[in-house]
């Protein structure tokens, strides 16, 4: 029995180590490169497969995620996908004309997150500048996907969670978040 428990603990420890490892360079860069190129060429179905909407919404909802019903979770994930496809992908295409170079580092482990640093060179009004973006990736459905970006130490997801989601949760719980999300989805569907 003791040896069985030991084996169980050992396997758990090994699984934890495996989960904490950063993927290979090609594996880790794949979702980001595919996402950028797919958006560029308006292949939005391919682009959307590179985004971890489930991980994204779970992080946004923070502790309220565990209280949400399965139906709520499904609705929130679907709503997030519609918002990203309706707002972020077209915005990404607009920015594309300003990009002069995008270079990637190998994936790295930063505490419990896997990040891929990219250096983006942009031009505006004849001036060049660099933006360093950390893409945060996680495995979802057996595939590495993007779920957050960090610029100058600021997480996009944490910003949205603190400024938009938390006040809604305080005001009316998961229902308030769903209502706001559905209203935004309806608004962009009209455009």
């Amino acid at each position: 029995m003791k040896s069985a428990s030991f084996a169980f603990v050992l396997s758990l420890a090994l699984t934890s180590v495996a989960n904490a490892q950063a993927p290979s360079t090609a594996e880790g860069q794949k979702p980001i490169k595919t996402l950028i190129n797919a958006i560029r060429y308006s292949k939005d179905d391919l682009a959307t497969k590179q985004v971890g909407y489930d991980v994204m919404v779970e992080k946004l909802m923070d502790t309220s995620w565990k209280d949400a019903s399965d139906a709520d979770k499904k609705e929130l994930i679907s709503g997030m996908e519609k918002l990203i496809r309706g707002i972020s992908f077209p915005a990404g295409r607009d920015i594309f004309k300003y990009l002069d170079n995008v270079l990637y580092d190998a994936p790295r482990l930063d505490k419990d997150q896997v990040k891929v640093k990219s250096t983006v060179v942009i031009h505006r009004d004849l001036k060049k500048s660099e933006i360093v973006i950390d893409w945060v990736i996680a495995k979802s459905g057996g595939q590495w996907k993007v779920y957050d970006t960090v610029m100058q130490g600021e997480s996009t997801l944490a910003g949205i969670r603190d400024e938009q989601i938390k006040p809604l949760l305080k005001e009316g719980g998961v229902a308030a978040v769903k209502k706001a999300m559905n209203e935004k989805v309806a608004e962009i569907s009209k455009k």
Binding site: T25, N37, Y41, L46, D100, V121
Partner: protein, 207 residues
């Protein structure tokens, strides 16, 4: 406003596009245009380290800003070396002149697009420009190229980036079919050679 633009231009270096040539009758938008290309570069022997850096910068720009499918960037002695399987053409950058004075680097380049099947010169342009090796606006990019390609990047990457952009902007773009777009997206994901070697080594150790 004009002053701000001029100041920005002065701070990032300046370049000019010289003579350009397109082969009579060549249409880059036609279905049989040269789309799959090797991007190569040659630099004089005393600046040999600049060649792989310039090839990579040119390749990265063409991949990002143009529709060409670019499987590889290499240092070349002659453009013919870039003609391989599944390659229709070679975009060859030749460094014609370099003048280095402390951090100021002046570069003159000629960029030529050749068709592999008959050696035809399809397009050519020359560009000249100067810039600072230690351009503050490009320091992350420079350190990336120095780490991933060649230490010569610390001297050449920033000025070459400025000069090549102007020349390569003039390169007539191609039009890709849906299947070719998918090929281009997939190509960006091919495992680098060193990674294949690493995997092969690991497999051999297991065996």
């Amino acid at each position: 406003m004009k002053f701000v633009a001029l100041l920005a231009l002065a701070l990032t270096g300046c370049s000019s596009l010289g003579h350009t040539y397109v082969a009579p009758g060549y249409l880059s938008t036609s279905a049989d245009a040269v789309k799959r290309i090797t991007v190569g570069a040659w630099a004089p022997a005393d600046q040999a380290g600049a060649a792989p850096v310039i090839a990579r910068i040119a390749a990265d720009f063409v991949k990002l800003r143009k529709n060409y499918i670019v499987p590889e960037s290499v240092a070349l002695k002659g453009w013919e070396e870039g003609c391989k399987e599944n390659r229709e053409g070679v975009l060859a950058v030749r460094v014609l002149k370099t003048a280095v004075e402390k951090e100021e680097v002046e570069l003159t380049v000629a960029v030529e697009l050749f068709r592999c099947k008959d050696g035809a010169l399809l397009w050519r342009a020359e560009g000249k420009g100067d810039g600072k090796s230690n351009d503050e606006n490009l320091k992350e990019m420079v350190s990336n190229y120095a780490r991933d390609v060649d230490p010569a990047a610390t001297q050449f990457a920033a000025p070459a980036f400025v000069v090549l952009q102007d020349v390569l902007n003039a390169l007539p773009d191609v039009v890709l079919s849906d299947a070719e777009v998918e090929e281009k997206i997939e190509l960006g994901l091919v495992k680098p050679v060193y990674e294949r070697v690493r995997i092969l080594s690991a497999s051999l150790l297991v065996i």
